[in-house]
Amino acid sequence: MNAPSEGYITPDGRKIGGVLMEMKNITLRFGGVVAIKDISFDIREGEIRAIIGPNGAGKSSMLNVISGFYIPTEGEVWFKGRKRGPMKPYEVARLGIARTFQNIALFDGMSVLDNILTGRLTLMKSGLLSQAFWYGAAAKEEDEHREKVEKIIDFLEIQNIRKTPVGRLPYGLKKRVELARALAAEPRILLLDEPMAGMNVEEKEDMCRFILDVNDEFGTTIALIEHDMGVVMDLSDRVVVMDYGRKIGDGTPDEVRNNQDVIDAYLGVAHG
């Protein structure tokens, strides 16, 4: 499907805006391995965009390109209508692009609360000197940040583990804390690498609900990678399908489901 440039209305009546991020002819090589081969697609304001594909298709690599962890060998990344130069991951984060990781990257030694607060570092203003000399202002700012964090904690229903060191949490809750930390940055785009992998059915349902609520309540644009086809079809507005580093499909869940290349790729590969 080619969405009109000014946006579109989803079947469930949500209004999707113009292009927020655009990948143009992205290629990524690691030595001889071509992880991404000449892929282009866009992500629209307010949209839930999924990237799917068999193992090793290059999905995580794509997310890493968007978040600046990988520099594409060829191609351009456009954000808010402007071409983005080669950037470090922390610079991308400061643009308002937050992410989670397939293998979870949390601060294990810190409490849940501290982990989520760390997500707000880019939004904290007070510098070293002002903190030392204008203690009052810094304390007030800290309070505001804590308030915002408490809202996210309530939102994701993790009040009862606020003070727990993250290292002690079970897998499913870690994934939720990671989402909370990304949300704390109040991002323009939220990138989620397999947010439901390794979860039981109940946890998956919770996570689905959170993702939909985030999108609905904060209007956050979301790009996510997911293996579970059912989940993808329920969640996403548009889907990019990758296989062996190439894009083999792009459109609404229905369009993608009926695409012969996609069907072949999925039938030809065993999944875990």
Binding site: L106, M110, L121
Partner: protein
């Protein structure tokens, strides 16, 4: 034991605690860098020497690189002819240490990102020799007296008070008392900084997980500079204390050798560990010398710390407070 001997042992313990504070200070510098970057900074001792040399040089208005300039141009420069107040000189030296941290990041660390720890360790060995040479060339290789106005000599107050209370006057060096207070102040400041400031929080994040830190917008390079600056400042404090005690000379850099057993005891990643470890080694050293020294011919202070640390390694490899190291397989 005779009460007199008990009191004497108590005095030895107190002196040991004070000496331990010095060890803790040096070990603290190591821990800061190791925690944030996984680098074992061999140059920490030389950093203290370099800081002390720079402080003395600035304070006395020495012209840096004077020997080099004289040799090249046939001039006869020595001093600018001014003396700086101690506090001004200390502040300037702190700035020099920040500059040094920036240079180390730009010229060394930046190029070694993602290298194995052993490579980074080797780089710090190189750095140690370089800084040692640089210190010599900039400020001269002679032994210097460091005087920033810290009180010296045996504290008469302590002596008379303990004499009045216990009938036995303790001999405690005034400088050691000051060093203790300074160390407490420094550790408190560092703790507040790391717990409550934005940069401190970023520092803890980097120490915990680099990838996660990047994803929340923390610049690792900024953190390297920050942590080396802090380590440089801690080295300056250690350099001032040791320098005031025994002069500024090459042997000052060897205090790092005392820090190693402290780290083995306290764990490489624990700030409380560095402090408690330093105190244990300081006290252990002095008490062992006091009780066992006379029986086995003295000079035990040279090796006792290492034996104690080795015993610890056998029974608790991660140190007192260090995190347990579990290999993933």
């Amino acid at each position: 034991m005779m009460p007199d001997q008990l009191l004497y042992a108590l005095e030895v313990t107190l002196n040991g605690l004070m000496a331990g504070v010095m060890y803790s200070l040096v070990a603290l510098g190591f821990v800061l860098i190791f925690k944030a970057s996984g680098i074992f900074n061999y140059a920490q001792g030389v950093l203290a020497l370099f800081a002390a040399l720079t402080l003395v040089g600035l304070q006395n208005g020495q012209i840096p690189f004077a020997h080099l300039i004289n040799a090249a141009l046939g001039t006869n420069l020595h001093h600018f002819g001014w003396k700086l107040p101690a506090l001004v000189a200390i502040a300037l030296t702190a700035l020099v240490m920040v500059g040094l941290a920036i240079l180390i990041e730009k010229l060394v660390l930046k190029h070694l990102v993602n290298q194995a720890p052993i490579i980074l360790f080797m780089a710090t060995i190189g750095l140690a020799y370089f800084l040692e040479g640089l210190g010599d060339v900039m400020w001269g290789a002679d032994i210097k007296k460091l005087d920033v106005g810290l009180p010296q000599g045996i504290s008469e107050t302590v002596e008379s008070v303990t004499d009045a209370w216990l009938g036995y006057g303790f001999f405690i060096d005034r400088l050691d008392i000051v060093a203790t207070f300074v160390a407490i102040l420094l550790v408190t400041a560092l703790t507040l900084f790391s717990q409550y400031s934005k940069q401190g929080r970023a520092l803890r994040a980097v120490a915990d997980d680099h990838q996660a830190a990047l994803s929340v917008g923390i610049s690792l390079r900024f953190i390297w500079v920050l942590v080396w600056s802090i380590a440089g400042f801690v080295a300056l404090v250690a350099g001032i204390m040791w320098g005031a005690k025994s002069g500024v000379q090459f042997s000052l850099s060897l205090i790092a050798l005392k820090a190693l057993p402290v780290l083995m005891l306290g764990g490489f990643t624990s700030i409380p560990g560095a402090i408690v470890g330093g105190l244990i080694i300081g006290v252990g050293e002095k008490l062992f010398e006091f009780f066992a020294g006379p029986m086995i011919g003295g000079a035990t202070e040279n090796w006792f710390a290492y034996v104690l640390a080795l015993l610890f390694l056998v029974f608790r490899p991660q140190g007192l407070f260090g995190e347990k190291i579990i290999e993933r397989v």
